[in-house]
Chain length 466, copies 2
Amino acid sequence: MNRKPLRVALLGFGTVGSSVARILVERPDLATHVQLTHIFNRDVARKRASWVPSSVAWTDNIDELFAAKPDAVVEVVGGVEPAGAWVRRALTQGASVVTANKMLLAAHAPELLHLAATYGAQLRFEAAVAGGVPLIHGVREGLAGDRLTRVAGILNGTSNYILSRMAGSDEPMSVVLDDARKLGYAEADPSADVDGDDAAAKLVVLAGIAFRRHLRLSDIPRQSIRPISSADFRYARRLGCTIRQIAMVETGPQRAGPGSPSRMPARWDGDVRVGNPATPAEERFHAFVGPALVLRGSHFGLNMGANNVVTIAGHYGGENSFSGAGAGGPATAVAVVSDLLSLTQRTHERGEEWPSARVASPPARPYYLRFVVRDRPGILASIAASLAHQRINLDAVLQEPGYPKDALPFVITVEACEEASLKAALDEIAGSDFHAERPLALPMLFDPVAQACATGAPELGEGERP
Amino acid sequence: MNRKPLRVALLGFGTVGSSVARILVERPDLATHVQLTHIFNRDVARKRASWVPSSVAWTDNIDELFAAKPDAVVEVVGGVEPAGAWVRRALTQGASVVTANKMLLAAHAPELLHLAATYGAQLRFEAAVAGGVPLIHGVREGLAGDRLTRVAGILNGTSNYILSRMAGSDEPMSVVLDDARKLGYAEADPSADVDGDDAAAKLVVLAGIAFRRHLRLSDIPRQSIRPISSADFRYARRLGCTIRQIAMVETGPQRAGPGSPSRMPARWDGDVRVGNPATPAEERFHAFVGPALVLRGSHFGLNMGANNVVTIAGHYGGENSFSGAGAGGPATAVAVVSDLLSLTQRTHERGEEWPSARVASPPARPYYLRFVVRDRPGILASIAASLAHQRINLDAVLQEPGYPKDALPFVITVEACEEASLKAALDEIAGSDFHAERPLALPMLFDPVAQACATGAPELGEGERP
């Protein structure tokens, strides 16, 4: 075990990159394992930091960096290109890569994993999902003995900040979003966060971690949180719920393959592929990204601010939950440095591959339907008739006082139904002329564990703030 | 990687053992990695299960089992002996051991780890702390890049069931404990659970996982939850808190060693020892097991029923939290099977050792002091004077209406003070003749992360139950 330290080149010296360098500099105990040799950044003169030892070469010439033949490359540049070209170049010359780049992985994970396997390099990405939350090892090794069935999480801190603050304050989204921008939680253009693209990319990586399968990013259905109003939180509370942006993937219906003893998606356990991999055509997953009703006492409902939380459900072990800082330089850098250290420990791992799998239409679910109407007699009857045409059962009708007659929000919850039926009913309903806003449909995501947690938590709602 | 499957002998066919066998039988995809060859149990004829393949040999003769030279032994018998003798025997003949036995590890981990290293065997124990929660890999590898500073958890499901139910119901402990026995959450003699011995043993293992140091079980201070009354929950709520049995270990004050650049406890990162290990004499940890006031909105305050939760704080990454089923056959069995699979993947790990470390007196902390008195004038003045003698500052005095004059509970909270000063003051106070019950002192364990979580959670306390 007395190998030379791993020679590491750092691509990108922004928030995460500088935190990675900081940990490596501040922990001399790591020096025998990991040695930072190069830092690459555009306009590097502007970036140079005096606390970085003089032994580190600063460069803005990528060729110079690769010519030095680093053992490992840390890619914290972000974006699909040119980061992707640099990652390919590193792997092709046999350098292992540690990356925090969810967009690159969501787009090209299968290709990059194949490249790594081909050239005997490793590709590590603990930092790409839920920043500092140590998911990969816990899931891959700690839960290897289980059969995972569902992975769900709050993976976008910006959306969670917005929704958890709206839930507590009655403020409109525009006000909260402005504040989020001022506090640095949201970018000038928050589309990637609030419309679900960021969470969808992370979900592709998370599905890879949990099931070793690749879902196509464009196949992940996503819904924006933009239409959520303070009225929605008021109605959600009436239902014992709140609203969060949830990213979820679960094992879906499997087409029975001839002579296939297990139709569970095959998984890798530890580092050796185990199981009886179904052919890709057989495998389907349900996936979803968007605002959903969750129980207030569940791990999701209790998750506040920019924190991330991921729950993993298994056939044997039930549900486990991991939570922590989803972003931020130091927390993400811990994941990167941990990956670097794992490269020094596990040098003989066989590369893994992620075969593609399909995203199937969602299972039947209960939904929350919110209408904003110009009030007049007959609206409820008309909506109820359209739902009945599709054989969708109403569960509850809620109408809170205090709203204007010309923009009156009210809510109907419906029992579990197919998405296609719901869509047909809503298309018919949307044809009426009483709408002041487009109808909103949110899935209600309850699961037994979350419900048990909520039921067991009576002390939380006794009129005092925790 | 085309090795023969690991030949596994199972010691103990109770709840966990039979679940381990069940997973191995139900997952044929594991057969190329792990092969169950023997099941040992006393009075084995009574245990024999028809769903176990006939290739498995059942025995109540331990010599027969060891004569078969298994590659690995799963020890789920529990108790220090004879389990300890069997684990030693396995390691000595080069068989790796997977155990769920916290009592054995708390008593003898250093010796067993040394034995494993000496004979080239592995010792794995993911199942020994927080049953199904995949802690070890997450902490060891996922957080290897951080400097851990504190590990705290709710590790005893029985105590948490009792306290979380008392918090919500106003029932006295005797009633809740009786129900817990009926539901199978508590044993006829619940001492090990409620007095903290079970959590203390798990804490010793958790400290080993996080810091690779061994704390002596008898050194861990522990306090029983037995004196907690429904009045305590009422007062705790007034303070925004609730009460949980917490097990906690944190890096303590270090004596400066000459020329030691880092006085942080050295850790292992990945599998290679890194750092500048201080000599054992330099290392001290704070440890505590017992009921404590925690914020209602914190991970601890929100943990209900028999669930376990563990939070890990690091210098760089802040706090991460893991939660899930702390016990139960299938969840614990997932941890055992995961450990077995990891043995098939990582065959060349160097054995680790846990040098001893000392438990230091706790840091200065704020405390919750509850008195039950026969009311008369001058009591508060007398108590305040005793606290003042020790230079302990009062923070709040709380007295709720509705209690009888001859057994009146009231609460004083005090600012952070040394345990020794508090003890001196309480000794003086206990000498007075106005007490109807022995005074109770509980530490108030708040940390910035938990506080931020609580502050960010206004939607939880609006008069409705989540």
